[in-house]
Amino acid sequence: MLVLRDLQKKYTRFRLGYLWTLLEPLGMSLVLWLVFSVLLGARALGLQPYLLFLSVAILPWWWFSTGIGASTRIWRRTGTQLRISTLPTQLWVVRAMLVSLIEFIFSLPVILLGMALTGFLPGPWIVMFPVAIVVQFLLMYGLSLLIAAAAVVFPDVARLVRIVLRAMFYLSPVLYSVSNIPEGAQFIASFNPLVGVLGLYRVGWWPEEASTATGYGISLTLCLVIFVAGVLVFRKLEPRILKEV
């Protein structure tokens, strides 16, 4: 209950910029669509219609990168609150994750807009969409527990995360489809948890995305592994966090 109240308060600041949560990913998809589809004319990249193909993956990516980015700053922004409270420490991470989740949910109309523009409707596999959200949330929660705990021990982590995020953007099938990856590299790519998650988002529109089932299996199990690892590591480092914040 307290968390919700906390969140509401946090959210009041965002409401001013609600339109931005729509415009930012929309603009991002448009720019990338222009560059990769119109200017470069790279028809081979991804699946058609490319604009929708992009926006379906851009939104979760946006959620992922803002959430993970926020997890490096948790202690700096809300450390003083942690110091006076005896609520579970994990709550501070949950809170940051929920804020980014809400932003994500509010940005979903962009996909509707994309569908309206292209007139491309999803098939029955769209049921995987909510599943993807749940899996991504677990992944992000585990990952940000890891990062938040690590950021206390090595403050340098924050910088590193930014670079890694940038690399992840190109290493994950946001701009392209898994089927664009060369055969040999597909197995390696499946060790990227985002491959599985993004695949789940897309499978509703493009059932052929699910062709590499074992690859998805690996990357989705990795999501769970990261989640469990995050919970355990955080519990181990909790006294240290309380001390340093």
Binding site: M1, L2, R5, D6, K9, T12, R13, T80, Q81, L82, R83, I84, S85, T86, L87, P88, T89, E238, P239, L242, K243, E244
Partner: protein
């Protein structure tokens, strides 16, 4: 929902069992020489751990008011935070029989870009009040802190003194029977301080327990029946307030004498 376990079978409010605590401090690099200077310019910080409590054991019974005195430093605050459970000991064990409200640095938790009303809800919630309880206590808190007319305004409109008062008022309205108070929380003009202490007195009559950290003897001499004198990380004395103060003064004098002697010899 709390990270602090409360042992219901414990009679004491809080019990420290050979607690050792190390607090990290960051320091800029010092020293001359090219190497050190370079590192300083690069902003590299040296991290070292300072043992602020070593092997400290005591227990506090319900209804007691205990003053924690000692030289300036992070030791006293660490002790309060350990008692309240916002810190975990490195070694040893802290057991609590009651919930202890941590009244340490509450003012710092007030967020500038929320309104005063929102802040009351957030900080109250963090200290463990329920929403309904805050709703009920809101007028009282606002009045005591003198912010009744600016509930809807942002926190950065409030001067620092008002923040401190607000922090105190919120913390005091938490329903608990034990409080860990850092002395810096009691600030403001004399009438407000007076009000604070009378409030503490009232709670004490109802059987509340207080842990009070301070370096100015005047305030706790009035009502603390017991004092813990902490210096160099050790519990030097666990006696009455005047005795502990005397011990502290003696130690100070000794240190000064030693300094003087040290300067005299070369």
């Amino acid at each position: 929902m709390s990270r602090v376990a409360i042992a219901t079978d414990l009679d004491a409010v809080v019990e420290f069992d050979s607690v050792t605590m190390r607090i990290p401090r960051r320091r800029r690099r010092r020293g001359s020489g090219r190497r050190q200077r370079l590192r300083r310019i690069a902003g590299e910080v040296r991290r070292e751990e300072l043992e602020v409590l070593s092997n400290v054991s005591f227990s506090i019974q319900p209804g007691e008011s205990v003053a924690i005195i000692g030289p300036k430093g992070p030791g006293r605050q660490a002790l309060l935070r350990l008692a309240a459970g916002t810190l975990r000991p490195d070694e040893g064990q802290v057991r609590r029989g009651r919930r202890i409200v941590p009244m340490i640095e509450v003012a710092r938790a007030l967020q500038r870009f929320y309104t005063v009303r929102q802040n009351i809800f957030i900080v109250g919630g963090l200290l463990g009040m329920t929403h309904e309880h805050i709703d009920e206590a809101l007028p009282g808190i606002a009045e005591q802190a003198g912010v009744s007319n600016m509930l809807g305004r942002y926190m950065n409109a409030a001067p620092p003194a008002v923040r401190q008062k607000l922090a105190w008022s919120i913390a005091m309205s938490v329903d608990a029977d034990a409080y860990a108070i850092d002395q810096t929380l009691v600030v403001g003009e004399r009438s407000f301080r007076q009000q604070c202490w009378t409030h503490v007195d009232k709670l004490r009559e109802n059987g509340a327990t207080f842990l009070l950290s301070s370096d100015s003897p005047k305030q706790f001499r009035r009502f603390c029946g017991r004092a813990l004198y902490i210096a160099d990380g050790r519990l030097q004395a666990d006696t009455t307030v005047p005795e502990a103060l005397a011990a502290m003064r003696a130690a100070r004098k000794e240190a000064r004498d030693a300094d003087g002697a040290g300067e005299g010899t070369p």
